[in-house]
């Protein structure tokens, strides 16, 4: 039979071990030490995600991958994406967004837009500290703020970016091969047609 109060004393011993241990465990092997946040920054894991951004290659105007297909706009669960297709001087729609807004005060960072994008153009950022006083002026991100280079993407998500780059490269090689094959086929067809034409040409009568 335990002495009355012995359970409390046992518990206090555990508390004491933890209290003293927090001073001795310098390597933080067992204990989690509070991060002194603004001075100490957390090292984010690679997969960490917060809000979406738009990837471009090289030049932010020409290299934009987004074709304004509006799939992400349609699939976004809280409907925080707004896209308007661009038009050329003649009013003909071109495959580029004129307006691409994401309201990050509504966005819940679920990354469904990333998964549904067929052009690998929208990806998750890992920014934080985006609080602001005005919701509409600062928390609705426009195309200019959303566009970030592929180099940046490689920095924040190296593994994922490498996979994406490999996929794009494979698609490019496949497309080039297909184009080359098509060109060869066309050339062969043309040569055959020319030969046939030469063959069927009536012999000049002597």
């Amino acid at each position: 039979m335990n002495l009355p109060g012995s359970g409390i004393l046992k518990g206090m011993a555990v508390t004491a071990v933890n209290f003293i241990g927090s001073f001795l465990d310098r390597a933080h092997a067992k204990r989690l030490i509070t991060e002194q946040y603004p001075e100490e920054r957390p090292t984010l894991v690679e997969t960490s995600r917060s809000f979406p951004f738009l990837v471009f290659d090289g030049d932010p105007e020409k290299g934009i991958r987004c074709t304004a297909c509006k799939i992400c706009e349609k699939e976004c669960p809280p409907q925080c994406i707004f896209i308007v297709k661009d038009k050329d001087a003649n009013g003909k729609p071109i495959l580029r967004p004129q307006i691409f807004d994401i309201d990050i005060s509504v966005c819940m960072g679920c990354q469904i837009c990333v998964e549904v994008c067929p052009f690998e153009s929208i990806r998750m950022d890992n920014i934080y500290e985006v609080s602001a006083y005005d919701r509409f002026e600062t928390l609705v991100l426009h195309k200019e703020q959303l566009l970030k280079s592929n180099v940046y993407y490689r920095q924040i998500h190296p593994t994922e970016a490498a996979q994406t780059d490999a996929r794009i490269e494979a698609a490019r090689v496949k497309k080039a091969a297909a184009a080359k094959a098509a060109a060869e086929k066309a050339a062969a067809a043309k040569a055959a047609a020319a030969a046939k034409a030469a063959e069927t040409q009536p012999e000049p009568t002597a």
Partner: protein
């Protein structure tokens, strides 16, 4: 304790002064925005009326307007302490509806993350119920220290600590990162030591025993009649665990026991979490040993523009808090016709008044804490 002058009245009931008190909805002991209208005679509860709906977010109606995949991130926000099991229940319901096969590796990953979720939920519970008894500090901090390590694993795997959005129809979104399994295994190995420490700290404590033993007794029969599930039901001595009853996923291949209580009081409900955590460790160790290589997502399933056949399905899993089920009706379109959640927290609350009647006002907090509710799930 909030006191509403217009709500309360000093009535003469049987010669004694009855006092109506509105507890909550901002009271820290009510685990969120839960409110109880309590009538007391002295300090004894004579009537308790739960009021909820303060966190209602239209989850089910939003799901009817969203694509099937689009509801997946919203399920994270039901029971935000354990989002992965919510994902799992929804994915399982859709898989039943459309008859989707899940690859073996994905099933094992689901078991691993699901049991880790159970571990961290029960760990957080230990901290919370101590908080309800007035022991803010050590116990909660120790519990959250361990929970944080599991959440770090989740962040590494899914990109977010809590809003994971991890499961997909026919599998999981991404494979385990390189080194994740080793880290998780090493972490789970340290876990029994933490549970020992917690038991040393708490289970022999005389104050804790006095506050928990014999408080809020619920018989097994009443628990069944009330539709209760999960640890609350098993604490009342009923052997009912959907992991065994339905034997879904790869659970039949894993050997584990179902702990049961004998008295059905708060102490049983407290201890059953500790015991279940130990069983979860057993499950995890077997799953770590058995997990095969292979695909993690059924490639035949189109996630975007997913259209299940016309029909109706009810998919359920044993969540950390009880039976979590999704009832889905499809008309063949890209949106559910009806989407209903059966949240364990809400159903487990139904017998709150019965457990509280005749107890003291200070015990109400402990009884509510022992049910382990999350208001995101109660109100949806």
């Amino acid at each position: 304790m909030s006191f509403h002058p217009h709500n309360s009245s000093l009535n003469e009931v049987n010669g004694a002064g009855a006092l109506d008190v509105s507890l909550g909805p901002q009271h820290p002991s009510t685990h969120g925005v839960f409110r109880m209208n309590v009538r007391m005679e002295g300090e004894t509860i004579t009537k308790l009326q739960p009021v909820f709906g303060y966190l209602h977010r239209n989850h089910e109606k939003i799901a009817e307007a969203n694509s099937w995949l689009g509801s997946m991130p919203y399920t994270d926000r039901l029971d935000y302490i354990c989002p992965i099991t919510n994902n799992w229940a929804y994915a399982r319901a859709v898989e039943q509806l459309a008859g989707i096969e899940v690859p073996e590796r994905a099933e094992y990953i689901r078991v691993i993350v699901g049991e880790l979720t159970r571990l961290q939920n029960h760990t957080a519970f230990l901290g919370f119920i101590l908080g309800d008894m007035g022991a803010w500090g050590s116990a909660l901090m120790y519990a959250f220290r361990e929970r944080e390590k599991i959440l770090d694993l989740f962040e590494w795997l899914t990109g977010a600590r809590m809003m994971v959005n991890y499961m997909r129809f026919g599998g999981v979104r991404c494979d385990l990162p390189v080194g994740w399994l080793e880290k998780a295994r090493a972490y789970v190995e340290t876990y029994p030591a933490f549970l020992d420490e917690m038991e040393q700290l708490l289970t022999g404590n005389e104050i804790l025993l006095a506050r928990l033993q014999g408080v809020g007794v619920l018989s097994g029969e009443r628990a069944i009649n009330g539709g209760l599930s999960g640890p609350v039901l098993r604490a009342s001595g009923v052997d009912y665990d959907i992991r065994k009853v339905d034997a879904y996923g790869v659970y039949p291949r894993l050997s584990f026991r179902i702990p049961r209580g004998t008295v059905g009081d708060c102490y049983d409900r407290f201890m059953i979490r500790l015991l279940e955590a130990r069983e979860s460790i057993q499950i995890l160790q077997q799953a770590f040993a058995q997990i095969p290589a292979g695909p993690t997502l059924n490639p035949a399933v189109k996630q975007r523009g997913f259209k299940p056949p016309v029909g109706e399905a009810y998919g359920r899993i044993e969540g950390p808090k009880g039976e979590l089920g999704f009832h889905l009706i499809s008309q063949g379109g890209d949106k559910p016709y009806r989407y209903h959640v059966r949240p364990p927290s809400l159903i487990n609350l139904t017998l709150l008044e019965e457990m509280c009647l005749g107890t003291k006002i200070a015990d109400v907090m402990v009884i509510l804490g022992s049910i382990d509710i999350v208001l995101g799930e109660v109100d949806r």
